[in-house]
């Protein structure tokens, strides 16, 4: 399956037309990580935004797994948007295939494709809700 077709199956990109998906798929690279390889590094600047196309990743703080991410989920958005280095590591748990969107291009994509921005905000809001409930 092509990257554009895979993206079309993910909630984050559900509102985009096939041509818009093709443009995104061709404008960004995919990265594949080996089991155990680090994708984002705590404290290191310049992290990208990643969307998982295939496989699983773990969010780790000091080597301890805090959260597991799977197909269609994303990470790196907070540091990509704030410019601050990530506060956790993200490590591939399986062979992990991601679409990589650097911070500058994420900003452009959010502004160019408001439907995508809304989807991302909703998913982010649900995560925040989960975190708040967990704290209570």
């Amino acid at each position: 399956m092509s990257i554009a077709e895979t993206l079309g199956q993910l909630a984050l990109f559900a509102d985009l037309t096939p041509s818009q998906l093709e443009a995104i798929a061709h404008s960004h690279d995919e990265d594949v990580f080996a089991v155990g390889e680090r994708v984002l590094r705590r404290g290191i600047s310049g992290g990208n935004f990643y969307v998982i196309l295939e496989g699983e990743a773990a969010v780790e703080v000091e080597g301890e797994e805090r959260h597991r991410l799977g197909r269609g989920e994303f990470f790196g958005e907070i540091s990509a948007l704030t410019g601050d280095p990530p506060t956790a590591d993200v490590v591939a748990r399986t062979v992990l295939r991601c679409l990589v969107i650097p911070a500058v291009q994420l900003e452009r994509l959010l502004l160019d494709r408001p439907q995508f921005m809304l989807r991302l905000l909703r998913m982010e809001a649900r995560r925040l809700q989960g975190t708040v409930e967990w704290r209570q």
């Binding site: 092509s2 990257i3 096939p18 041509s19 818009q20 093709e22 443009a23 798929a25 061709h26 404008s27 690279d29 995919e30 990265d31 594949v32 990580f33 080996a34 390889e37 680090r38 590094r41 404290g43 290191i44 600047s45 310049g46 992290g47 990208n48 280095p85 062979v95 295939r97 990589v100 969107i101 650097p102 911070a103 500058v104 291009q105």
Partner: protein, 490 residues
Amino acid sequence: MAAVERPFPPGDYDVVVVGSGPGGLQTSYCLRALGVSHAVLSRDDCPGGMFRHFPIYQRLITWTKPDAPVERTSREYEWYDHNSLLADEPELRAVVPALMDRAFDLPSRAEMEAGLVTFAERAGLEVRYGCTWESTRHEDGRLVLETSDGEYRARAVVFALGITEPWRADVPGLEHAAHYVETRDPARYENRDVFVVGKRNSGFEVSQGILPWARSIVLGSPRPVQMEALALSALRVRYLHPYDEYSRGGPGTYVIDVTIERVEPVGERFRVVTHGTTWDGTLEFEVDDVIAATGFRTPLRDLRKLGLVTVADDRIPALTPWWESVSLPGAFFAGNASQGARGVEKRGAGANSGSVNGFRYNARVLAQQLAERLTGYEPPREPIPDIVSFLLHELTSAPDLWVQKGYLTRVVSETAEGWHDGGVMPLAHYLDVVEEDGAAASVEVDERGTTLPTLYLRRRGEIREHQLDPHPLHRYDGDHYRREVEALVG
């Protein structure tokens, strides 16, 4: 005909290298220098790899400046010569500039090929030519290559195959199109309307090549030409002429962002149906010729069946920072396919592994890694008396750090006895795996293309990142920098 003794008969080797292009030759040279027993196999009958045939329009896009502010035999000169292979011996260094006619600061294809042949001859690199790798299997933790000459077993195989197999994007009807590799005679496009599918290297190259012949040219693909990125890439040097015509409004040359729905024959001509990606709408073209300039892929034969995972529309193997398959241990890649390793990719910046200037360093680092893993080789850890000068010199003029920006890093370790050189390695390995106290120097770029000299300090398991200020002449050895680095490592 007298029988000629061919090197590397079938059998067991620590390492088998497949390929005799620049990636294979550089890997073999470096393995030999480290005393790693290996075989080099090639289906060709002489060295040079893809440069024996490509680029079609005969001019490279990577520079070599025959005269530069530094001596040709110096390490620093490598920065000015992106096409010669690396060597320790002066007579093997900077081979390409000596062969250039200086018509241009980019060598011709023939000059590049001659450079590789000369390097192989002078270095006495042995290759078993005319030996074709046919299939692969796993046996007792080893890769076994079946070839036209017999079986080779190896603890590690370095595939230096290039990205050389013509590839067509999955567009209905594109099978009717000539591939870039079939466009050698530009005269056949005389007074014809041509649609070129693809806006990367080969798309621009072929378009420029047929510009003096064709009646009209349309270049189309989904991805917009990223002018900011292109302005800083090697591609601009040679192939932007069609874009120039388009942006000045010359009717007959167009560069458009479209998905191509289908290509269909209409009598002797073709209809190309497209939809805008950066604009809304549909455009149809009727042309005499369609050229598929959608690139190439690595000729991986049966490696996918053994579990090898790929990227970029199944065109390139997905690799770890040490250029090993992420899913098929023991299968390493050198040469152009080493771009399957993305590294830390800060701010989205990848390595320069798609050209000789980048992958020659990958091959050297890979050879050392294989020597350490397979033969117990221990690199010399030379003491560094003046750590501040050492780090600032590396940041200012180390060609490997400047070419493989943000991918390769120079590492130093700190012990009770002082500072020691830890050599060059992938930055990802330093950040994720190395544990000893020390530092690493890396040349990085920000989103605007500004060069950022960067140091990573590792103390008691904690890493701190420090970006030094940019400098208009890229000279990071002044007092201001000395004080800053002294405060960090002191």
